[in-house]
Symmetry: C2
């Protein structure tokens, strides 16, 4: 699904800008850390965050990633959320801290936060560069 | 409208990831060059490009920008398109080439391209860092 020449963008510590649909049908965009297992793209949210609520209402999502060393090389992935995985021991969000921060544990956990791994099935890509 | 501490992100050569709504109501996301005059945000499209067609149908837009020197500092701007300005002499797209490439003329013009400056009124921001 993801062209091989762009795998490095998903595997490296590149931020993805995630577009979702808000409650009034409006677009929203924010940068997130992402994981990719070769098939699904995941990102972490807490149950209070807006993107989580948006994606429960409308599972359609787009992500764009730009090569930090070449701003004219980018990948857009459109897809759909296929699962919301509870992450009670923080295994997923900790793996994102390892990927993006190089540390073992996610450092911004607050007591009471419910972490969720949002699982996206890529359906369409476009790319440049 | 835009918090002063984040003006540098709009004024510097930072890519903005623009989220728009596609024909089936789905989110789309792509990186673009942006200009900011202190009030309106503009980006350039040709009349054949999908974001232009999307924004003619639904003028709501979100942009997110990350500080290239600090990935935990970002700005999201939500707003609405208030004008589509024809750019027949390419003054606007050339100004974007100066800002982002440091050269006088936009280098990727093709015969027949109709350039348009899409003018966005910011209505809401969120930020981190």
């Amino acid at each position: 699904m993801i062209p091989e020449a762009y795998h490095d963008l998903l595997l490296g510590s590149v931020l993805a800008h995630v577009a979702t649909i808000g409650v009034r049908g409006e677009p929203q965009s924010t940068p997130v850390w992402i994981g990719w297992d070769g098939e699904y793209i995941r990102f972490s949210q807490t149950s209070r965050q807006q993107k989580y609520r948006n994606l429960q209402r409308d599972p359609r999502v787009a992500l764009s990633l730009v090569d930090p060393r070449n701003p004219y090389r980018y990948l857009e992935v459109r897809g759909v959320v296929v699962a919301f995985e509870d992450d009670p021991d923080r295994a997923f969000v900790d793996s994102m801290a390892r990927k993006y921060l190089g540390i073992e544990r996610y450092p911004w956990h607050h007591e009471g936060d419910e972490h969720i791994a949002i699982v996206i099935l890529p359906q369409h890509t476009s790319q440049m560069g």
